[in-house]
Amino acid sequence: MISVFFEYSFLTYSLYTAIMVGLIAPLLGVFLVVRRLSLISDALSHITLSGIAFSLLLGKHFILFANLNPIYMGMIFSVGGAIFIERLRNVYRYYKELAIPIILSAGIGIGVVFISLADGFNTDLFSYLFGSVVVIRYSDFQLISVITILVLILFFLFYKEWFYLSFDEDQATVSGIPKKILHFIFIVMVALVIAASMRIVGILLVSSLMTLPVAAAMRWAKGFKQMFFYAIIFGELSVIIGLVSSFHLDLFPGGTIVLLNVLILLFSILLTNKR
């Protein structure tokens, strides 16, 4: 089943990419869920769509941009969106939770307008929305490897600080941890991971790879470290099985990966309910 993935280079790349994504997405997802920010990944992934669409539009009109990987513009937009969410939280002081739906819907809306302008309603767009097994090129693979290494380094560097911030924000701020900067680095990392995962899982489904394995891990784990362990195992399982089966069954990989995650989650809830 899996051997075919080593026969063609583009399949090998997508398998390796998927393995990397299955590692870093749940890794950050644990912090996202514990800090009650799980919805931010949805907002950022939707704004990534506007970035991709903008890049497609530019590529249509300027030759300079035609060869540019749309992932970069997606990354810029998603980091921009992250900053904007923080600003909106200040605008709506009494309704802070409004920031996320506003960014989410604005992101999709603007994305749709750009796509329309670029005449981009074709098969290509579908692979952006729901992922694809065959679109990973060597350049994507390189970029995603760099992102993975960067995320892993930052993660181990700031693990203690984030851990502290997640569980006792007041205490952490009092003891002199630069909360704002750390939060910003974290959000930028989330934006990067979304951009990295997007090609395989699809924009609409990236966020589920960050939340669903963690939601399942929560049912099993007895400690914070265990949660990472379970989340990554569930993430990798779903990504690898999902990718291979989507190739053989001719389905969108995003769909199969998320469905596997949902199944894992359902089993986790059912099995742990009895205990």
Partner: protein, 281 residues
């Protein structure tokens, strides 16, 4: 009925748009004060699963071939709203997890159903991003009927909904059955989402619910004003969006949402100006 049949496809789309532009912000105002605007995103994504499931069934089983996928969408969005409540109980300490779980499983399932159904990509794009020219007569009927039901539901139980939204404890004490009305409310959201979907598109329904009230709360001084201004902004976004999308040949849903974003930007600009004027005096 005959009057409806005489309408051109464009008129049908515009009428549908106007109804949606009124009802979406109306329900949005209640969602806003209950701090659960995001639920509209989750339910709209699960409605997509319903639509794709409806399409899949109508293609593979002859019995369902005449079924308008909108009904399947309504059904799924109802189930989704009940599941959200259920998940909130399972994850007692992380209640906000319920929404992303439903949202992503909805989209994931529909991605699979989409690849199983033989449909052109354009057809899916219409559902995802909305299109006013594909509003058929039966769609319009669906929108009118569900719109009327939603209006009746809100009008008939306005006081109860209001008291639940602002103060659940108080509502409980005064004898309003909170669980029953929460269910009633979920039903209402499910109806509104499945009716708006055809014109604005599944991915953008949430925007129609959120953006107009987000703009109106900047200026409004009371809940009634939030509703009133919200409807006004909603209709404005609809009309301008539809007209622009028609002349510029851009997907309708996208244009409506971008207009909504502009209205939001303008209102927050107005708010800033009035605030700075007031501080000078």
């Amino acid at each position: 009925m005959e009057l409806l049949q005489q309408l051109t496809f464009l008129e049908r789309g515009i009428i549908a748009g106007l109804i949606i532009g009124c009802i979406c912000p109306l329900i949005g105002a209640f969602l806003l004060v209950r701090r659960i605007t995001i639920i509209s995103e989750a339910l709209s994504h699960i409605t997509l699963t319903g639509i794709t499931a409806g399409m899949f069934l109508s293609q593979s089983i002859a019995l369902f071939s005449f079924l308008n996928p909108l009904y399947a969408g309504l059904f799924f969005s109802l189930i989704g709203s009940l599941l959200v409540e259920k998940l909130r109980q399972i994850y007692k300490h992380f209640q906000e997890l319920a929404i992303p779980i439903i949202l992503s499983s909805g989209i994931g399932l529909s991605a699979i159903l989409m690849s199983l159904t033989s449909g052109s990509y354009n057809q899916w794009y219409n559902y995802l991003f909305g299109s006013i020219i594909t509003v058929s007569l039966s769609d319009l009927l669906f929108i009118i009927i569900t719109g009327l039901i939603a209006l009746l539901m809100i009008g008939g139980f306005y006081k109860e909904l209001l008291s639940i939204s602002f103060d659940q404890e108080f509502a409980k004490v005064t004898g309003v059955s909170v669980t029953r009305f929460n269910f009633f409310f979920s039903l209402l959201i499910a109806i509104v989402i499945s009716m708006s979907m055809k014109v604005v598109g599944i991915l953008l329904v949430g925007a129609m619910v959120t953006l107009p009230v987000a703009a109106s709360i900047q200026l409004a001084k009371s809940f009634k004003q939030v509703i009133f201004l919200g409807i006004l902004f909603g209709e404005l976004a609809m009309i301008i969006g539809i007209i622009l999308s028609y002349y510029l040949d851009i997907a309708t849903g996208g244009m409506i949402v971008v207009t909504g974003v502009f209205i939001l930007l303008i209102t927050s600009g107005i708010k800033k100006i009035t605030a700075s004027l007031r501080s000078k005096i």
